[in-house]
Symmetry: C2
Subunit: 446 residues, 2 copies
């Protein structure tokens, strides 16, 4: 991801301090706010993040979090359907929204002097949303079509859904964010309104404002627009059904005639960043880079270059989650190498890695890469705003997010090997094969 | 299961009519009742079945249905803790209770003239249960110890739990009836009371009385004791999250040093008996017998006798369930045959079965066995009562249960092969290996 930089160029980079002042405040109604100053351009990013995602949906109502995100662009008591985005556009801004397992976020990027208006609009739809039965029926068709496009038309996405369902026995992370189709088809206006009334409230939201703003002014505007909104009383703590011990190694094969490029992928249940305890997640962040981050990684070197086993290899980990997340490795074999052989090669590389440990030069190169990425991240105001919003709706505090670059920088080789030893337990893993169907029809039956 | 009988002895058996008159009635408060007369002995079985099982539990509260079953033996407004079972015993009776995925049942067998008293006791605890915090704490220890005994001490049971969790992506049948331990540990008195108040109500119960009784008298007593009980208003329809399409074949290996006898087992998602549509389930009942029901079955013949591959084989299916159930096959290999070889042999037998079809003589033998079993079932009053209770709390009507022997008897070879062709889709299957751990420590890591 940082292939342009050479190790040499990075030597001597200092540990990044957070550029741009970050301040926080909390309104009386529970709304938490983060202000990130950056006065280089007269632009502001206004983001409102709700502490609710697909993993907070009631049983059988999968997709409602994402459905509601769509419905948030309908009208309010005083605004017509679609007016929200029109106003943003007429003011030269852009807006968007996204739903994840743990959060739902809304953002606009506009000229700094339009912040007042953005807050007015966003605060209005936090508590005053209106939707007709027709809005709901139309938008339900839209999300089902979105599922068609993103999932049903993509064998890799179907494969991913089936793997997640097997990775988690009990936790709702097993359910797709977009929803199971048969449940999406039954979502109603009442489902959306119940979800909205409960979770869309100032005491369940994080406001992030980043750019050419002064914290005092942001606070004044927030008090004016968000301050009068009523919190949801007795909002239950955010506790999802947890995983029981995972004791049995799992495997899964998905065959689809549309698969042109078969691959093997394995995900392990992995710890996430916890408030005040981000060290393991930091070590796993290194591990993913060391094993699968680009052409100098262990998997790439051994399977793409030393042997011509794979056309592509990767390892991936994202620790920003409220509950246990996953760490993955994948190998896309060259033509003529079977998935069985590819998996055996992957296992061999992992076993060698555990036996041989980490090369000093590679470790320092990756430390510098991560340090550089953290420095550049400070310049990306919108990305920084996203970090705060995402982190603070995934169980972390502003202090954890601020501490993250230093926690990353303190990781040692020993930390990475210890994290790897704990992670690589096949009993908590799902190994998946994505493949085209066998040509023998006998394979289809039994 | 009917090994004592020879095919010859069964020829000429007529299709069984339900012996013992079965009558039904419903009280004004919604309580459904079934009366099965059998005057051969002055004994009565009194059963109360609730339409609630572990699959109806709230998320994160697994084990609450079974926990409440235990707590039902504590006191009521007018009876002391433990008094219920003492009274039954002092009256020469026996009593018991059971919790399943779809139902919770309570029964007593006593002299026929004690029916009045049994109803009084059972009606009392339907709405007037009392439990102290101490009762709850004590009994929670009991169910956790029950889990230790039944699950943690039994590698096969752990294996079964992990397989179920992978068989169902979305439906609560993936959760063990006894509960996940970490959730059982957090169950509270309030959890039990909420569950009790909602589900233990006349409009969610089926009364089954079988034995030396007259229907009119049973109705009079039921009206006296159960009639005054208030129903739960607005009891939601019993709809659980349904399975999305299962598209990817799954495998799972559980290794435990306590495993003395490894085996391979595969379960396929399978249709259950539906009201007015029991034909497929009837065909699958035959299929289980044909493939794995005893020493003349296809799996036993080919793997235990023609080749010495297995020490034991079986196939199993129970169609009495509210939602999609499973059909299973299993092979326990002889020493020296690996699980891989055992599975390959099992697959070969299944493929041969699909190609060769069913032997006429074997089919007729099994039809007669099933017919005989149905005839004998009519003589087993308690078993018959259980059939009605189980069926009527699993989505069936009394008429479906009465029709079941005739539906079974009408199954043809073609029905069985069609059901097998639909069933044997690996994409809806989980193949499990239960094994001792490999001796190489390298296997444990990665």
């Amino acid at each position: 991801m940082l292939g342009r930089l050479t190790g040499v160029a990075l030597i001597g980079l200092a540990l990044p301090a957070m550029a741009g002042e970050v301040t926080t405040f909390t309104l009386d109604n529970g709304l938490e706010a983060v202000v990130i100053e950056n006065h280089r351009a007269p632009v502001v990013v206004h983001m409102l993040w709700y502490r609710v995602g697909s993993a907070d949906e009631p049983p059988g109502r999968s997709g409602i979090a994402h459905f509601l995100e769509h419905l948030m662009f309908k009208g309010t008591d005083t605004r017509a359907s679609g007016e929200f985005s029109q106003i943003v556009e007429l003011n030269g801004g852009t807006d968007n929204a996204f739903t994840s397992l743990d959060y739902t976020g809304y953002f606009q990027r506009v000229a700094a002097d339009r912040l007042d208006l953005m807050m007015e609009l966003e605060a209005d739809r936090m508590r005053n949303l209106q939707m007709t039965e027709e809005d709901v029926a139309t938008e339900r068709d839209v999300i089902i079509e979105e599922r068609n496009q993103r999932v049903e038309n993509d064998p890799g996405a179907i494969f991913g859904e089936q793997r997640r369902a097997v990775q988690y026995f009990n936790h709702p992370y097993r359910i797709p964010i977009i929803g199971w189709r048969h449940e999406m088809e039954t979502l109603t206006r009442e489902d959306a309104l119940e979800f909205y009334r409960r979770f869309y409230a100032p005491n369940n939201a994080v406001l992030v404002v980043a750019g050419d703003v002064e914290p005092d002014e942001v606070r004044r505007l927030a008090e004016e627009h968000y301050g009068p909104l009523a919190p949801t009383p007795d909002l239950a703590p955010r506790v999802r059904p947890a995983e029981p011990p995972q004791l049995a190694e799992r495997r899964l094969t998905y065959a689809d005639p549309r698969v042109a490029q078969p691959y093997v992928i394995r995900t392990y249940l992995a710890p996430e960043r916890d408030p005040g305890a981000q060290e393991k997640a930091a070590a796993l962040t290194y591990l993913a880079e060391i094993l699968g981050g680009g052409t100098t990684s262990v998997l790439a070197r051994k399977l793409q270059f030393e042997t011509q086993t794979a056309v592509f290899t990767t390892a991936f980990y994202d620790g920003t989650a409220l509950d246990d997340t996953t760490f993955g490795v994948a190998v896309v074999p060259v033509e003529g190498v079977s998935l069985e052989e590819a998996e055996a090669a992957m296992d061999r590389v992992l076993a060698e890695f555990m036996a041989e440990g980490i090369d000093d030069a590679q470790f320092e190169r990756i430390r510098f890469q991560i340090r550089a990425a953290e420095i550049y991240a400070q310049d990306d105001t919108q990305g920084l705003a996203r970090r705060y919003g995402e982190g603070m709706t995934s169980g972390l505090t502003a202090a954890d997010i601020e501490a993250w670059p230093a926690v990353l920088d303190a990781v040692t080789k020993e930390d990475v090997m210890a994290a790897a030893a704990e992670l690589f337990d096949r009993r908590r893993a799902v190994t998946g094969w994505l493949t085209a169907p066998a040509t023998e029809p006998a394979e289809a039956i039994q």
